[in-house]
Symmetry: C2
Subunit: 354 residues, 2 copies
């Protein structure tokens, strides 16, 4: 087991990463302050892991909320459903919410924990690769609004995160690969050694080699934890984590949430950002090729949907949270392991690559 510490002063918390952590004498138990617990999960994860989790939590007063699977469930209506369930079951301010599932479950449960009686304890057990390397670190919680993803939310840190790599065995290959897009993202944006390590270990990763997966996830979490510790509220460098996301969110919004997986949209978004950088003479073509090759190895899409051109992207990109005072901002890779926030991208340039 690897234990990382996310350093945020009085909101610091540990991430436990290992194979089989959900069946051992779990380190997460020490982070539950009182006997009352509520587990939030979905109807895909519940049959696989809910009983396992409940078996660890003997001696607690447990109840559970099982949502349908899918991004569409990350709604204010389901947030309300969690609130109503908690109140109807008499949960107090010393209750703990546990998120068992992927990013959708983590985000909505975290937001519920942030708001229930103005904030209760919260533990994350991410079961998808994407949520393990991304949404479980950094305290971004949210629900979607029909007019935009993650528009209603809070910065709220969990008490602890438990990552059991065993859960990746039951993850569909397409979702595992989508998670790899975010893994590769860390290499591109901040760590060229990690990018090379991924190139060297790609076969072991594809074969679900446990030791390799634990190391890979730990390196991603450490990378994100370092960035979040330096800039919790995204005043500056935390924005770099959005590499590929401005294009990606546009794809997800235009195609309808769920048609493309988030990681797939981010993969294409990173390629588009890299192409923009090449056009601007900021990135070597050889680096673009390495990015494309590694993404391809994990069967990730490199091109925008056939029905999306310049105009379709622009409508959505103008609505991005990173924009200030109406200007478009984009994260651009300038080498493997180095990214910049640029405000000087003309619509003309954007047109060339789309």
């Amino acid at each position: 087991m690897i234990t990382l510490n996310v350093d945020l002063n009085d909101r610091s918390y540990p991430i436990y990463i290992g194979a089989g952590l959900l069946s051992h004498n779990s380190p997460v138990l020490q982070h539950i302050p009182a006997k009352r617990l509520c587990i939030v999960t979905n109807d895909i994860i519940a049959p696989l892991y809910l009983t396992k989790l409940k078996n660890i939590l003997t001696g607690y007063l447990l109840d559970e909320i099982i949502l349908p699977d899918g991004e569409a469930e990350k709604s204010l209506a389901n947030f309300d459903k969690i609130m109503s369930h908690m109140l109807a079951n008499g949960h107090g301010r010393d209750s703990t919410l546990i998120a068992l599932g992927g990013g959708v479950i983590g985000d909505i449960t975290g937001f519920a924990a942030a708001c229930y009686q103005r904030g209760i304890h919260f533990i994350q057990i991410p079961t998808t690769l994407l949520s393990q390397v991304d949404s479980s670190v950094g305290g971004k919680t949210a629900v979607n609004h029909p007019l935009g993803k993650n528009m209603i939310g809070a910065f709220y840190q969990p008490q602890a995160v438990l990552i059991d790599t065993h859960s990746l065995k039951t993850l569909p290959v397409r979702e595992f690969n989508a998670g790899m897009a975010e893994v590769i993202k860390y290499g591109i944006l901040a760590d060229k050694d990690f990018f090379s390590w991924l190139e060297q270990n790609r076969q072991k990763i594809k074969n679900n080699d446990e030791e390799t997966l634990v190391e890979m996830i730990a390196r991603c979490c450490q990378c994100k934890a370092d960035i979040v510790a330096a800039d919790e509220k995204e005043a500056n460098i935390r924005a770099l984590l959005n590499l590929g996301h401005t294009f990606g969110h546009a794809i997800e919004a235009e195609q309808g949430y769920g048609a493309w997986l988030h990681g797939e949209a981010v993969a294409t978004g990173m390629v588009l950002a890299a192409k923009l950088a090449v056009t601007m003479n900021l990135l070597e073509v050889s680096d673009l090729r390495r990015i494309e090759n590694l993404l391809s190895y994990f069967d990730l899409p490199l091109n925008a949907p056939a029905d999306m051109g310049f105009n379709e992207f622009l409508i959505h990109m103008r609505r991005d949270k990173k924009n200030l005072a109406g200007k478009l901002r984009l994260i651009i890779p300038t080498a493997i392991g180095r990214t910049e926030i640029r405000d000087d991208i003309s619509e003309e340039l954007l047109k060339q690559i789309l």
Copy 2:
């Protein structure tokens, strides 16, 4: 003008208190970071002060949301309405939300500011006595749930608070008096000199003497600011501010929100807490009489509703947020200017005074 500073490290903010601050070159303008603003108010306050406020804010891109008046509007549905309005009007993370109104408007607008794109700037202009001395200090924001008041919310601090005592001239007498219950509360719970000052100045207060009102409000805000600075998240002494509120919330819930004004319910709640203290030999009868007399002078109710006995109170009090591990906790005055949190109140004792 009196300026107080609420000391919360990087979340510190000023409170400006004075007569006519809404028509002067307002000190609040320096706390707005960008040109986009949205004002949230209600249909009682809008005809009285919205134009006045907009005249101060020339040069800004303004829009507004006017909710119906009343506690029932502090709902998740209206929170959603604010989110939708903000998104539809293209507000970004540098927009500012301004709450113009009483506690309902302040609470829901503050919660909206806390959650919109995970947090934007927020300015409070409380127009009722209650919101000026209570909800504008301390960062408690929330909406109600059908199963309980303020059950969905966040701790979120404004950039600044502007209190213009002129707004009290248009406040109905019954609401002014309800606000006086919270004013008197500060005297009972923490400041016996202030309680005496209120006894001496009660006629000036009733006559709306401006200088007296500015001093009174400033003393209340300072008292609350000191307590909040010592305990922002209500881990301990902040709970003392709930004097009278456990009984009060039970009255409001049982009678239906709005039948009794919040301050009226708190007035009765404080008398019940004081009676409990007398029964336990913790408070002199003469202090109970002084409390009753001062509340009476402002026409506040001293007795529980005729249709509420022990059982009706108990159902609601068991659901209180202060309760830990199922035990009832109550705030009890032990003298004018001194209160304690007690866990040792038996249901038998409660029965004697109800």
